[in-house]
């Protein structure tokens, strides 16, 4: 068995706050997800070496970064753990090109023009090289910061809420770059966020933190459906991997296909064949026991009730559509009236307009650890 990209088992006490967390992260993108104050940033500091745990051990790909039992503590500059901070932290006295070269110089790596070109091409920062950080927009700074961390060839890349300081337009600008990073760079990523939209779009694996403890860990699409985690991630929903079939110029609707069945969504401006990950919140799904007629909603997916989970004031209905699980939030009265029970054949109805473009990401087979 190979070593996980990251194995953490630490405890730290700071005043009234206690962090006690153990988890492992595989290749791909692992999201540390939780509210502010849940210990996400403290964990990032511990992994990067900017803080010391009271007790515990952290290893990355078999390299021990800290182990209190053997009194081992690797200082940050010898860990080869890259960090992209929320506030890009570019060096103001250096140009963009010098910022990008900074890590490579200290990692004693030879200059590799092909690698450099690949990274700045992936991040779309070719035109910024001669500029000073002060003249960059927030989104540009964050892309340069990602490039700077990546060019130091880290064995692990930490991203601490890299989008939190940006407005919605800038977030939408950067998310595709982070997806490419995840899919092309081949570096395991630990991504801190409190945004369900970001996590649903990016994460392969989810580590849910609550009050300094790991509340749940597992594949993202499983955890985001779980009703017992609602207080932590808000509305649960299904994550579906879909492929673009085509866009109808007349209706302006894009047709997606996937395991669950075909879906019509507002024009995504994506070419046919593009892979997408779609999140459908449970509150946007209706349930019918008969194929609907005279209905404005575009998407009706036949399936079978797989389970009923009480969730607060209502019930989450799990609907198995050809093996993909959709979630619908109904009231208890509706469940009674429709006589919903596991095995019952139903139709899940999703409004096309319910799709939020921010909820789309480039999908790929999810990696479970």
């Amino acid at each position: 068995m190979t070593d996980p990209a990251l194995a953490v088992d630490v405890a730290l006490r700071r005043g009234a706050f206690t962090l006690e967390a153990a988890f492992a992260a595989g290749p791909g993108l692992t999201a540390l997800f939780g509210r502010s104050g849940s210990g996400k940033t403290t964990l990032i500091d511990l992994i990067a070496g900017l803080a010391r745990p009271d007790r515990g051990r952290i290893a990355a790909g078999g390299h021990v970064l800290v182990d209190t039992a053997s009194r081992r503590f690797l200082p940050p500059h010898r860990r080869r753990v890259g960090v992209v901070f929320q506030d890009a932290r570019l060096f103001p006295h250096l140009s963009v090109a010098q910022n990008l070269a900074y890590g490579r110089v200290f990692a004693r790596l030879p200059h590799d023009p092909a690698e450099f070109a690949a990274v700045i091409g992936m991040l779309g920062i070719e035109a910024l090289l001669a500029r000073q950080p002060a003249g960059l927009s927030g989104g540009e700074r964050q892309r340069v910061a990602i490039g700077r961390a990546l060019l130091a060839k880290p064995r692990l890349l930490l991203m601490d809420e890299p989008l939190a300081a940006l407005d919605e337009a800038r977030k939408a600008e950067i998310l595709p770059y982070i997806e490419r990073l995840r899919d092309e760079a081949g570096v395991p990523i630990v991504y801190v966020s409190h945004s369900v939209a970001e996590v649903a779009r990016l994460a392969d694996t989810l580590v849910v933190l609550d009050g300094g403890r790991v509340a749940a860990t597992g594949p993202a699409e499983t955890l985001l459906r779980r009703a017992d985690l609602i207080p932590l991630h808000g509305e649960p929903g299904a994550l579906l991997d879909m492929v673009v079939e085509g866009t109808d110029a007349a209706t302006g609707l894009t047709r997606l296909t996937g395991q669950a069945g075909p879906l019509l969504v507002p024009d995504l401006a994506k070419p046919p064949g593009a892979r997408l990950r779609v999140r459908i919140p449970a509150r946007d799904v209706l349930v019918a026991t008969l194929p609907p007629q005279g209905l404005s909603a575009r998407n009706a997916l036949p399936g079978r009730v797989a389970g009923l989970v009480p969730a607060g004031t209502g019930v989450l209905v799990e609907i198995d559509c050809h093996g993909a699980i959709l979630l619908a939030r109904l009231t208890e009265a509706a469940v009674r009236d429709l006589a919903l029970a596991p095995g019952r054949e139903v139709v899940a109805i999703v409004k096309s307009a319910a799709f939020d473009p921010a909820g789309f990401g480039t999908g790929r087979p999810t990696i479970a650890i």
Partner: protein, 231 residues
Amino acid sequence: MSLGLGPEEWQAVLLSLQVATLATLASLPLGLGVAWLLARRRFPGRALLDGLVHLPLILPPVVTGYLLLLAFGRKGVFGAPLAELGIVFAFRWTGAALACAVMGFPLMVRAMRLSLEAVDTRLEDAAGTLGASPLMVFLTVTLPLSLPGCLAGAVLAFAKAMGEFGATITFVSNIPGQTQTLPSAIYTLTQVPGGEGPALRLTLVSVALSITALLVSEALAARAGRRLGAG
């Protein structure tokens, strides 16, 4: 071009420049080190070090000069062993430089410490995660970002050295051509009949040098502010 100065007056001006240059250059590394310690490290005795650095600012200069004489005189605690090595401070121009360095040290450390404290430690953390050792972080991030402020501190110390009188005259006396600096020369000229003219000329030189130093220091500080504000 003699500016109307006689050879002895020129000698005093040049000696003062020589003394101030040595005093500033010699105290630069130590000043930077102490400023960094005070700005970035918490250790036992930190308050004591801080007080010690500031002491020459508070003590009467004559007292500082006398303490230097006790410590670095030919029979002093440090002076005696140093004299055996052939290093003598008392009544030499190097002694004037030592007195000026001690008197200018608080000004230098203060300016450097403020500009080091203004550098965002989060940038230093970021540099560390990119593989830079603490020394390289200091050389490539902390120092460049605080450089104008640190230079301003050095200019202040230089200006202070150009004008230092009390500690210098107590420690190394007032020997023309050896330890008679610009202020000492002015003082001597005001004590003799007919010295008013030369004294006034040297005073103008002194004022011009001081104002130049102040302007350079202000310009450097403004540049430091711009650079840090740009981040």
